[in-house]
Symmetry: C4
Subunit: 239 residues, 4 copies
C-alpha cells in the first residue's frame, strides 16, 4: 500500500507521536483505565494513527497504534481501532488545520457535559486557550444514537461549532458524554485536554462561590487569547 | 478436607487472585487504612477466599487470605475473616454468575450512601458499566441491625436489586454505609468499585452544576451499555 | 532529673514514638509546611514529648523532640516546644486514659471548624471511630484569646466534651481554628486525625447532596462503634 | 554593566534562588504547564531575576533566568522574560520591603478571582499569614486592558492594597485572573502562594457548609497573626 520508504518513515513517526500523546493522557491524570484516546494525522499521506480499542495503557506501544485512511479503512494493524474512531475522522475530514484529536472522560469536563452546560469563559486561564465559552452540544436524537452513533457524535460537534474557527475553540463537551479536544498535533490536542479539565474545575468552583457570575468581557478575552495566539502574540519565546 | 492436589492448586490460585485484588484497592486509592475487603469464589470447589479482618495492607499475603465454604465455615486459615464476610456470602449464594465481591468506604460513593440517594445514570461513563441508576438500599431496621447485621446487609442488597440481573448492575450503595460491588472475578469487582467511585464523583459535581438534571434517556443508556456488554458488543478487542 | 537508666530508656522510646507519629502526619497528607504537631506521654514518668515549634518535617528527628513535665517545664531539649503545647498539656492532665494528642490544619476538618459546625455522624465510617457527632467548640472570648490563649483552647475543648468519655469521642474541632484528636498512643491519635479528616470530607459532600440529612439512628451508631470498640468487639484479630 | 566580581557573584546567587523558587511552584502542585512565575530582587544591585516566558519547568535552569533592572531593561539573558514582568516590576518599585513576587493560576485562588470576591479571613490558618481578608481587585477597564495591560495589573494591585503594609497582606487575587503573592524573598513569596491556595480551598468549603459565615473577630486575628509576626512573635525558634 505504501509506495516508498519515505512514507514508511513518516508512519513510524506518526505512530510514535500518537503513542506518546496517549501515554501523556495518563501522566496528566486525565484517564481512568482505558477511558481515553488520542489520534494524529499525517496530512500528506492522508493517514490517521489511533489507539486500539480497550487496550490497557501499560500494553500500548507505537507498534500497536492502528493506521487508517480518512475513510476509516484500516491500512496497518491487527487490532481494532478505538470505538470512537468515526468521531475523530469526521473532525479530520472537516477541519483541515487540525493535526490531533483527543477524547477523555476527565471528571470535571464530564460534569459540565452531564449537566448539559457550556463552560463559561470566566477568567484568563480559560481565555489563554479558548476564545469564548466552550460549547456543549445538544443531545443526539434517538435515531442518531441508534445508527452510526460515533459518526453522529462528530457531526453534532461540527453542528455546534458552526462557523467557529476550530483552532480558536479547540474543544467541546458532548452532552451526557464528555470532552473532545483537538489541536495542531496530537501533543497539542492533549495539552488542550488538560487545560479544558482545569478550566472546567475552576468554573465549577467559581459558580459555587458566585452563581451569578458571567463570562469575561470581550476586551480581556481578546487580550489574553491574542497575547498567546495570532500574529501579535507576545507570550513565550520566538519560534 | 481437600481431596486432591488439583483442588489444592486451585485454592492457591484463588488466594493469589484475591490477594492481588485486595492490594489493587490500595493502588486505586479506594481505601483508607484497612477499610475495604475483596473476596473471590471458586464455584467448582464452592470455596471463597476473603481478606482477614483489620489486617494492614502491608501485612497481607496470599497465605493469610481466609478460605471459607458458602455456609461461612473456615476451611483454611488461622485469622478471622473480614467482619463483612456474611454480606459477601449472601451475594455468592444468591447470584451464581458473580465471581468476586468488593466492599470499600470510598468517599464519593459513601457520600451518596450517607445522603440516602441512588446515583443517577447521568452520562456515558456511567452507562458503560451500570445499566441504569445505581440503587441505594433502604436503611436496615433496628432489629436487622441488632441481630445478624452483616447477613441482613446482604439481604437488603438483594431486596433492592430485586429481579435486576446482577452483572448488569454490578454495584449498590448501602444506606448510611457505603458501596458494595461485584463482578465476574475479584479483579472485575475491583474494576467496578473504581468506576462506581468515579461516577459518584462526576454525579455529585453534575448535580452541583444543574440540580434539575435527570437520568439519561434509554436510547443512549442502551447504546453505551450494549456496545461494551452483551452479544453485539464492539468495544475492545475480540476475546 | 532522671533517676536511672530505665527512665532514660523510656524517654528514648517516647521520643522515637512521637517522632514517627509526627512524620506520619506528612505521609497521610494532613499537613502543609509545619502546620501540625503530635505529642505523647509516658504516664509512669509523667513526661510528655512534643514536636518543636516551626521546624520543618525534613529536619525533625527523635533527638529534637522536646521533653516536658505536665506542668509545662522543659526537662530535655534546646528547642522551644510547639506553640500549642499548653493545649496538649490540659488534655493530658484532664484525661488520664489518653496517650497521644494531635493538632493539624487538615482542610476539610478546618472547613467545619471555620463554619462553626459539629460534624454529624452520617454513616458507619464515622460511627466506627467516633461515638456520635464530633463537636465544634464555642468561640473563645476576647479575654480568653488575650491571655493564656493555648491553655484556654484546651479548656474550651474540655468544656465542650463535658462528661463524654474522651476515648469514645477522640477528636473535636475548635471553632475558627481546626481539629484536635487524641488516642491511646501518639500513633492512635494520628490514626484518629486521618479518620476525622476523611469523615469531614464525606460529611461535606453528603450535605451537598442532601442538605436535610440527619445523624445516624442510635442502633446503627451503637452497632458500628461497638463492633470495633468495647468488650464485645469483633472487628480485627484477637490481641 | 556589572562593575565587579562581587556583583557577579550576587547575580549568580539571585539566579539560583529564583530558579529554585520557580521549581518549588511545581513541587507544591501550584502550576499546570508553565502557568506560573517567580521573580526575586537584589535591592543593592537594583536587579530583578525572573522566569523566561513560556519555557517548560523541565528546561529551566539558573542560567536561563532573565536579569532586568527596575525599569524593565534586560541586563543579562537571551530569552524573553515572563509576560507578567511589568506587573512584578510595579510591585518592586512601590514596595521596598518585598524581595520576591509570585504569580500562579492555582485553581482555588482562581475560583475566588473569577468570582470577583475577596477571600474572607475565616480561621486561624488564614490569620497566621494574612492579616485580614485577602482582597480581590476591581476589573481593569477596557482602556487599561488595551494598553500596558501587565503594568496596569500591577497598578490595580497597588490601588487595592492602598495603605496596607504589603508584608502584612502578602497576596491578592486579581479579578477574572488569579493570585499574586509576595514576601521577603522568592522562597517566602512561594510559601505565601501555597498558603493562599490552601486558605482559598478551606474558605470555599466553609462557605458551602455555612453561607452566612463571617470573618474572624479582630482579637483572634490579632492573636494568630501577631504570634507569628512582629516584635512579640513566639511561634517557631529564635532566629
Amino acid at each position: 500500500m505504501l509506495a516508498d520508504s519515505a512514507a514508511a518513515q513518516r508512519i513510524i513517526e506518526l505512530r510514535e507521536q500518537v503513542y506518546l500523546a496517549n501515554m501523556a493522557l495518563q501522566t496528566h491524570n486525565l484517564v481512568t483505565f482505558t477511558w481515553g484516546n488520542v489520534s494524529g494525522i499525517d496530512r500528506e499521506l492522508g493517514l490517521v494513527a489511533i489507539k486500539p480499542s480497550g487496550v490497557e495503557y501499560a500494553k500500548l506501544s507505537p507498534a500497536n497504534m492502528v493506521i487508517l485512511n480518512l475513510a476509516g479503512k484500516v491500512i496497518e494493524g491487527d487490532l481494532k481501532p478505538s470505538s470512537d474512531t468515526s468521531t475523530h475522522l469526521v473532525l479530520y475530514r472537516s477541519y483541515e488545520d487540525i493535526g490531533g484529536v483527543v477524547h477523555t472522560h476527565s471528571p470535571f469536563a464530564c460534569a459540565w457535559a452531564q449537566a448539559g452546560l457550556s463552560i463559561p469563559a470566566l477568567g484568563t486561564t480559560h481565555a489563554d486557550y479558548f476564545y469564548g465559552d466552550i460549547p456543549c452540544t445538544r443531545a443526539l436524537t434517538e435515531a442518531e444514537v441508534a445508527t452510526n452513533y460515533e459518526l453522529n457524535t462528530g457531526l453534532v460537534i461540527e453542528e455546534t461549532l458552526g462557523s467557529t474557527e476550530p483552532l480558536s475553540m479547540p474543544g467541546i463537551v458532548v452532552k451526557e458524554h464528555g470532552p473532545f479536544t483537538w489541536g495542531t498535533s496530537p501533543d497539542n490536542a492533549v495539552h488542550n485536554a488538560v487545560v479544558l479539565e482545569e478550566v472546567a474545575k475552576m468554573a465549577l468552583h467559581t459558580k459555587q462561590l458566585n452563581p451569578q457570575v458571567t463570562s469575561l468581557n470581550q476586551a480581556l478575552l481578546d487580550k489574553h487569547y491574542l497575547r498567546k495566539h495570532g500574529k501579535d502574540a507576545y507570550y513565550g519565546q520566538e519560534d
